[in-house]
């Protein structure tokens, strides 16, 4: 009896501590959210007022009125969607090749591709910058999208997934004289929707949030992604004249991603839990 009772109390204490930690965790977001509706002039004097009036929407209208923010959102959408679609396509094809076909040297080729997982972005950005400059690809969608396509993780994920699909399904189709391509598009792809969602979400988030490559490749402000564009507007931070404006910017950029996250949370969680641990 007794250990059970202490166990239950222990559980309550642990949950209580975790909830307290969660409150600390969201506090910065809530504080920024509340202050984003305050006039800049007030915030120049004090920031310890939360719910008391006055309120204003001016900070948000300033964002919409004065910057290239919609252009940056559009750029981010094109880059993130484009990169995601292409990564899914290339990784599925290569995954099928590695999982289900045989040719001389396949094992070595697979190892060669996986070795790429060890390469840091920093080791390739300088040569990539030169190469893209020679090709005239900077400040273009292609320039922002292409480097993300050389990611071995997707190939690894797809190969592992396709290997686990029972061969019988495929063999029935091949006996009916279906081509490899037909088998791939009609049998394998429809069976792989969960892993496509997983890889899609992971790729989309990393493309949407990338900072280093857009910073190097996009030098004209109308080619910035949202991540880079917002960073570029924060240069005169030291004076912090427009605190409320900065707060509104943080909320403006965080809110859509957080809402999407709340909506797709279960898929994202499954994606993370399912992919990174064998």
């Amino acid at each position: 009896m007794n250990p059970n009772l202490t166990n239950r109390w222990g559980n309550r204490v642990i949950l209580g501590v975790t909830i307290a930690a969660a409150i600390v965790w969201v506090a910065p977001l809530l504080w920024v959210l509340l202050l984003s509706f305050k006039p800049n002039e007030l915030l120049a004097q004090r920031t310890d007022i939360l719910l008391a009036p006055p309120y204003t929407l001016k900070n948000y209208s300033d964002i919409l009125g004065t910057s290239l923010v919609f252009r940056w959102i559009a750029n981010s959408c094109v880059v993130a969607f484009g990169q995601t679609m292409l990564v899914l396509l290339l990784s599925s094809l290569a995954g099928y090749g590695f999982a289900r076909t045989e040719f001389p040297g396949k094992t070595w080729l697979y190892r060669f591709v996986l070795a790429g997982l060890a390469v840091p972005q920093t080791a390739v950005v300088i040569p990539l910058h030169r190469m893209f400059a020679d090709l005239g690809l900077h400040n273009s969608y292609a320039g922002l999208i292409l480097p993300g396509l050389a990611a071995p993780f997707g190939v690894f994920l797809m190969t592992q997934y396709f290997k686990a699909i029972p061969r019988d399904l495929e063999e029935a189709a091949l006996l009916d004289n279906a081509s490899r391509w037909t088998v791939f598009t009609r049998v394998i792809l429809p069976l792989s929707l969960p892993v496509q969602a997983t890889l899609g979400i992971v790729t989309f988030l990393s493309a949407w949030n990338d900072y280093l490559w857009p910073l190097i490749s996009a030098t004209q402000s109308d080619h910035y992604t949202l991540t880079l564009g917002l960073a570029s507007t924060q240069t005169n931070f030291a004076q912090s004249e427009g605190l409320g404006f900065l707060m509104a910017q943080a909320v403006f950029a965080a809110a859509p991603v957080l809402v999407l996250y709340a909506y797709f949370q279960q898929y994202i969680v499954a994606a993370v839990a399912g992919t990174k641990v064998r």
């Binding site: 920024v32 790429g116 063999e171 994202i268 990174k276």
Partner: protein, 305 residues
């Protein structure tokens, strides 16, 4: 076993094992991207690091290992490399311990725990720009959330980002806030692979929480722990956006990181070969980290046997 025989000898040939080169056609599109956008740049970067090249003139001349010798004598490089190592050393244990603690606390079904998991993972979907913006507002001298909280408790407010010794830990704090979700999820995934009856047996023996953690949980998830520690170390060694946006490397270079050094050597001093050599140094550090993982895995495997 069947596969090793020539197909003519096999009694019942498996389809898909003797299709010649068609498999390569499936792999070719990715392979072209991989060779052009990763393998070639990597080799090119290696080659560049033995040259003195100016970004503007684009003319290179072979200088051998001069860049690497210069790096070791460059106070800024050494400082940046040490900062990156220190940053990884600060973040990794916190990520592992906090991530594991959260995973243990939240490893049960129910709506409350699901919401809490969502909260801790949520910040991870934000971009580095937003995270640093939020944390600059939190850490603002006098008017930040931290300053307000400290005033509220009757303490004198500090401004960690302006303080030489506190700046790097403050960046690490923001990074843990941002990135704790991934370690937590990885630990949850490994915790859920432990069979439940082991704990039931322990509960019958009145085993304490701590003892069952030490003797059941920890041994069962050690691969997860190694995985999280090494992936975090590798990720944090590459810290760039947070320091560039939060502190610009200051105060007094106390937060200048290795990637930031490479970026500045390239785009502010236009010393291409020198920057490439700095990038190779980072690559070496990461390879060392990964060999550490291999070594730990083998040791863990031996301990089990």
């Amino acid at each position: 076993m069947m596969r090793d025989l020539p197909s003519s000898v096999q009694a019942k040939p498996r389809l898909g094992t003797s299709t010649g080169w068609i498999g390569l056609l499936f792999i070719a599109p990715f392979l072209l991207c991989y060779l052009a956008l990763l393998v070639w740049p990597l080799l090119n970067g290696f080659w560049l690091s033995f040259h003195a090249i100016d970004l503007l003139s684009n003319m290179g001349r072979w200088v051998g290992v001069t860049n690497f010798i210069d790096l070791l004598q460059d106070e800024m490089f050494v400082r940046s490399a040490l900062n990156s190592l220190l940053f990884a050393a600060l973040c990794t244990p916190v990520m592992v311990i906090t991530g594991l603690a959260l995973a243990l606390a939240l490893n049960r079904p129910g709506r409350t725990t699901a919401i809490l998991r969502g909260i801790f993972f949520g910040a991870g979907v934000l971009s580095v720009t937003i995270v640093t913006l939020i944390w600059r507002l939190v850490l603002l001298p006098e008017r930040g959330l931290l300053a307000n909280a400290m005033h509220g408790m009757g303490m004198a407010a500090v401004a960690p980002l302006n303080h030489e010794w506190l700046a790097l830990p403050a960046v690490a704090l923001a990074t843990v806030w941002w990135g704790i979700g991934m370690p937590m999820m990885l630990f949850l995934a490994s915790l859920q692979q432990i069979p439940h009856d082991v704990y039931e047996a322990a509960a019958l023996d009145n085993t304490s929480r701590w003892r069952s953690f030490r003797h059941i949980t920890l041994p069962a998830i050690r691969h997860g722990v190694i995985l999280v520690a090494v992936t975090q170390m590798i990720a944090q060694l590459q810290v760039f956006g947070q320091v560039q946006l939060l502190t610009q490397g200051g105060p007094n270079n106390s937060t200048r990181s290795l990637v930031m050094f490479v970026y500045e050597a390239m785009f502010e001093q236009w010393q291409l070969g020198y920057a490439a050599a700095g990038a190779q140094a980072l690559f070496l550090l990461m390879l060392a980290g990964m060999s550490l993982q291999g070594w730990l895995e083998r040791r863990a495997g031996k301990a089990q046997a």
